[in-house]
Subunit: 345 residues, 2 copies
């Protein structure tokens, strides 16, 4: 069965060059994949023609669909909703809404993507706003889903429980973990610590059977590898993620200059650079991996605005895996089952 993904090829700082190249890589990697590229036809064709080694077999699985406008990076979600429906983002999302594609990937304006996704695709029962989640690299080579990353700047206990359930389902389905370890982010590990929402969510999750809930972790717990899903409100998650990106950039710079300063050796510096660049990419998880909008009736993956072709490739791969695992269907079904348990108990 083919997997059809609609790509907003105009989003992202690097323009169609990166999205087109990322698409070609994904087509090479997944033989069942079909990509629909939405954007200015002329630009997309130019980007395609500039590619080296185009395999015609792969190009047969790529279609271009012209869109006459692009959602501006600074556009407000409200004006995007009122505005024209012929943007590459809206058109790509409509493919998912209408069942002509199983997933959408965009590197455009996050607020607009969120608003258009809610309006065109809709959320599963009981979820008012999707949560944004990405896989953070951990010690020992693992990964940890952090959510929410900014869609919900405030979250009461019930919302935090929703995030926990959605993250757990994601890690179980998409990463094939048998029993993902789930934790709530807090300022300490004792039950008395934190805000009322976090304490109440802790009580609710502790009572819930069928979830491997591990209680509270502090911020460092995101990276230790001790849990697979860490839940917090979108303000905290966004601050933590962006601070981590900032720190990773600074650290890599310092490591590089430390090496160059200490051995004066440009050779060591030159040898180190590619390894450090790889590390920097890995530690810039949103840019690198893409972030899922969880809780929609369809699959939408946000690629970082400054993602290069590799970043796009990873975002498309994530969307592909979510389609393959029928994530939204499981999410809707399992959330319903869980909620009935919470209500009964």
């Amino acid at each position: 069965m083919p997997v059809k993904i609609a790509l907003d090829a105009m989003g992202g700082d690097l323009g169609p060059r990166a999205t087109v190249l990322g698409s070609i890589r994904a087509l090479n990697a997944f033989s069942q994949l079909e990509i629909q590229l939405f954007g200015q036809r002329q630009e997309l064709e130019t980007a395609l023609q500039a590619l080296p080694n185009r395999s015609s077999a792969n190009l047969a699985r790529l279609s271009l669909i012209h869109s006459s406008s692009v959602v501006a990076e600074g556009a407000k979600p409200s004006s995007v909703l009122r505005g024209s429906s012929d943007s590459s983002m809206a058109m790509a999302l409509r493919q998912v809404a209408d069942g002509r594609a199983q997933a959408c990937v965009s590197a455009g304006n996050t607020g607009a993507l969120m608003a258009l996704s809610r309006s065109l695709i809709g959320t599963v029962s009981g979820i008012s706003r999707p949560a944004i989640s990405t896989a953070i690299p951990t010690r020992g080579g693992g990964r940890c889903y952090l959510l929410d990353l900014g869609a919900n700047v405030e979250a009461d206990a019930a919302r935090l429980v929703d995030f926990a359930l959605m993250g757990e389902i994601m890690a179980r389905r998409v990463d094939a973990l048998k029993s993902p370890r789930v934790a709530l982010l807090n300022v300490g590990v004792e039950g008395s610590k934190g805000t009322a929402s976090v304490r109440e969510a802790n009580v609710l999750l502790s009572r819930l059977s069928g979830i491997n809930y591990r209680g509270f972790v502090e911020g460092n717990g995101i990276f230790t590898g001790e849990v697979d899903v860490v839940v917090c409100d979108g303000f905290v998650g966004n601050a933590v993620l962006k601070a981590s990106e900032g720190l990773a950039m600074m650290l890599i710079d310092r490591v590089q200059s430390t090496f160059e300063a200490h051995w004066g050796s440009r050779i060591v510096g030159a040898l180190a650079r590619p390894a450090l660049r790889r590390l920097k990419n890995q530690l810039d998880p949103v840019r690198y991996n893409g972030a899922s909008l969880l809780g929609l009736k369809g699959i939408v993956v946000k690629s970082h605005g400054s993602a290069d072709a590799t970043g796009f490739f990873h975002a498309i791969s994530r969307a592909f895996r979510e389609v393959d695992q029928a994530l939204p269907q499981y999410l809707a079904q399992e959330l319903d089952e869980r909620r009935s348990v919470i209500t009964l108990s």
Copy 2:
């Protein structure tokens, strides 16, 4: 004029060995410093006798005061307040309260230190709870004060403005910055983003003259060097700080194993190790620098529980500089002046 600092020598995971060694280093560094060590006399004496190169001139500025108990790491603040007043922490804080020392440094239980500080020393007018702040290293070799780090898990707009003012005064007085750049941490830089508290604080700070307020920064702004003070509630600050510590640890590990894997060379690994360890220390700011409790009538610096002698030395140095700059007096005076302006306008 001598600067007298009371040290809770029993706090911290490494016990008196680290606190005593850190104290001796501080006495070597600051000729006006006098240290009062509070703890089990026998343990303190043993730690002192184990020191190499004890200079009798420096030891003359060190006094030992016996305390018969220690605040347990897991003790609840409420029980510490009700409990015995003969702990090393309570006795050291009482020195400040009674004017027999100008600052207290402790690596003990943060909640207990906060509760005992409020109760014994008291807060300056208008500040109900102190904020915790530490200096985070930034790109370009600078530093940025982040506050609050966990004393106030929730903060309304007025509290955020207090934090901004206290951080600004700290950076101006203690770091001698002429006009520290202050920002609010948010999930975006537009005025419409974030929680109600953050948006309201933004309006209040924008109207305030005499403060170099730069608006919102996102999490990465803590590390870029673009601002000197970043303000957020204690939940967010704590999550960001601990996530940063966790990420720094993971990154340093990965850098090390990347180097070792790529050149197979143990020599490069061995050469890199001290430089990497230095970096790790620098990027573990609380452990390294100590954190100030801002808004008290006296000076209290929290040293990290797992701080070694160098960490203690830095915490004592911070306390020394705060004494030297008469921080609490300026804080009380300037907060009063600012508040009258806010009320008038």
